[in-house]
């Protein structure tokens, strides 16, 4: 057997993931070396401030602020700084210095992925990113390799732990969004500024990465339709329970044919949705993540685990490091990104989905028929409709000063679940219903994904 020198590993960033990568690499170096067939030497850790207080076991002499010099002496560069710059610049430097790169930087990949993959392909370098979508969950290799002989039709994921924790609390404990968010913040699941999580930006970045892989098509994050989950109410969660559903923030990437143009393309979207409590994704609790994949031959698959966390994500990073190192030892180019399909990216309007609408309407004869008429005018057919007459609330009666008075306008609650229709037709229907005379207000609009419970 040929003798190899140690492989030189450079780490950029010593945050929650980076410090765990360093620790595990130093502690389990011998075990990993045996798996690779070569030593793995951590030659340095680039940080912004060598003297900053940090709770890590990284030996002081490994710390440096000179990332560029470190990168140029490395065989494999692990980028865990986050953000766009200078991460992008450093990764390009690593690639052009002949190093392979491991990154967990979803923001960078979702915005500058094609540029980085092209640069790597030109020099025959590899870019690994198992940690960028799904944290510790192995989802990149299954999509890229295991399913490479199949045809993925749909990827539906719970890819943000913070929002799943919040929605699970709302479902299991009956919390409001605000309460659940406060607890998530207290437990460290949510950042001080939770916008990236609760508004779906984080999930949209992951959706872009998953869609690109699943459909062999570069999908930029700007093309992902994104709705946050801050407007999900406790009442919606309870109503969902009663109907056999649970509310989840889903990242959905699908291959479909635009009904208007007949063009086959890809849509990626992030929004809260109802799914049946019998769906495997419904059993994903706490801050856990899972990605449900539907492929033509393989059928339904699901990948479940920790979507975030320092040590958990470090597992994915080290798996990539071993792959990169094995390739260095074995030689030869690795697997490039596959974007050969290059499918057009379609808008949300092309998606076929179902809606659940909750309307407060005037309780008078003919309203049901009128509302049903609005749906049928827009070509949307109704799967289920439930009407409950609202007893006039005591506070309303008290304010009116005349309990039981015949002229008190009574209202009814109408819960309508539609059959599948284009998102465009459904949103037009909602707009028309909202402005209908008999409709007091639209209480809730949620998409419904998957089977009826």
């Amino acid at each position: 057997m040929i003798e190899y020198r140690n492989l030189r590993i450079a780490l950029l960033g010593a945050g929650s993931v980076g410090s765990q990568v360093a620790r595990l690499l130093l502690e389990h170096g011998d075990e990993l070396a045996a798996r690779v067939g070569a030593g793995l030497e951590l030659i340095g850790v680039a940080v912004r401030d060598v003297d900053a207080p940090r709770d890590t076991s990284i030996p002081r002499h490994l710390l440096t602020t000179d990332a560029a010099t470190l990168i140029q002496s490395a065989d494999v560069v692990i980028e865990l700084m986050g953000g766009i710059e200078p991460a992008r610049e450093y990764i390009l430097l690593a690639i052009n210095s002949g190093a392979d790169v491991v990154t967990g930087n979803k923001a960078l990949l979702a915005t500058h992925g094609p540029e980085l993959f092209d640069a790597a392909e030109q020099v025959g370098a590899q870019l690994y990113y198992e940690a960028a979508a799904g944290g510790a969950i192995p989802i990149i290799r299954p999509l890229r390799d295991s399913l490479a002989g199949d045809r993925v039709n749909r990827v539906m994921g719970i890819v943000n732990g913070t929002t799943n924790f919040i929605l699970d609390r709302m479902d299991v404990e009956g919390d409001t969004f605000e309460n659940a968010l406060a607890i998530a913040t207290e437990l460290g699941y949510a950042e001080a500024d939770p916008t990236a999580d609760v508004e779906g930006y984080d999930a949209a970045q992951k959706a872009a990465i998953l869609a690109s892989l699943a459909f062999h098509t570069a999908v930029p994050v700007e093309a992902v339709h994104r709705e946050g989950m801050t407007s999900v109410t406790a009442a919606q969660v309870v109503a969902a329970q009663k109907a056999g559903y649970v509310v989840k923030l889903l990242a959905i990437c699908e291959r479909l044919t635009d009904p208007e143009t007949g063009v086959e393309g890809v849509v990626a979207r992030v929004h809260p949705a109802l799914i049946s409590r019998r769906h495997p994704l419904a059993a994903v609790h706490d801050a856990k993540n899972a990605v449900f994949v539907q492929a033509e031959a393989a059928g339904d698959l699901m990948f479940y685990g920790a979507g975030a966390g320092g040590v958990e994500t470090a597992s994915a990073v080290l798996g990539d490091l071993v792959s990169a190192a094995r390739r260095h030892v074995a030689g030869g180019p690795g697997v490039g990104e596959s974007t050969h399909a290059n499918l057009p990216i379609l808008g949300i309007g092309a998606v076929s989905t179902r809606y659940q609408l909750t309307l407060i309407v005037a309780d008078q004869p003919g309203v049901l028929a009128q509302i049903a008429g609005v749906f049928s005018e827009h070509g949307v057919s109704v799967e289920a409709l439930q009407q409950t007459v609202q007893p006039a609330a005591p506070s309303v009666l008290a304010a009116a000063g005349a309990p039981g008075q015949a002229s008190e306008p009574l209202t009814a609650t109408l819960v309508i679940v539609t059959h599948e229709a284009s998102d465009a037709a459904l949103s037009a229907t909602v707009a028309a219903v909202s402005s209908h005379d008999a409709v007091v207000r639209v209480e809730s609009v949620l998409r419904v994904e998957g089977d009826t419970p």
Copy 2:
């Protein structure tokens, strides 16, 4: 870019998986070629009898009975004949002819794996086997690559669809084992001779493959402790439900330290067990499979999907084919099997687990204390104990001809769940309890895995 000739693919076997592989390869050849960067040409399909009736779309001119000649003209050989011989011989021929091999043959890998991997390593050929454990579920690459930088401590899988279908029917519909088996046979989930499934032989082969991968140690199938599930009764399933458990046939592979010798090693075992209904594996219904993995850094992961089926398994085979073909195009050796850890393989006695015992005992003073004494003598501590006095059954009374007679010996049912103890200590305790004077009979003994509900 260098121009490559078409890669020549030979298929051995045209059964339920083989015929689907041929169909998908012929139908989606162009799409797969784009992913590989080279054409994939199915040059022949070796079968025992060219004229046998078969429901496939394989063109007649591709069929041949001369497997050896076919193998020697191929770049990649896909072996889907099953059985030990001549599959073993053909795979060795393929390897020595310079071809890469894709196989779904779990029986062969679980018995002759090391011989085949060694042969492949000597000539730099690759052996792919994603379809051999878990059917369509991508589990081989996650264990071999994604978790290569982590330390797997435990793999717990539902890896046999037939038995999961039967146990799920017993749980959800209240069927007996016999009824559920009859339905599984009718629906094609069980073979005419279900021994390989219900006695755990199939699961044991998969356990051997998963344990080998997870612990970088060759684990032969003979080293897997195996108990079937034919003795699981409807009463046990109902009792499990009441206690918040579900009965599943589990394949468990774990790294542990033998309490007697202090040696760290690997144990693989297959047996029915109780798991909490809150465990992710409890939500695996019908004939679905799932593999739950616990790793030091990644934490808990689960991989879920179809564990069998012609077209589903074909997906895994084609994924391997694309990997093999990409390697042919890229050149260079691929990833070899990693058995560097070479841990000792320990017996079931080294396992630490919990037992649930159901005993029928004489309802007389002091029995509880005596039984508890037997447990404590064996160093097994009791986590929970529930006693129900058995009303004398009407038939017994009628037979005795003296309803309510004081001398009628009353019995009590005792359900005991132990704390964790060595399997050796637990089975010794069960033996001692069985022969205790006050014990009328041992109704049920089941291991308990994972957390208490």
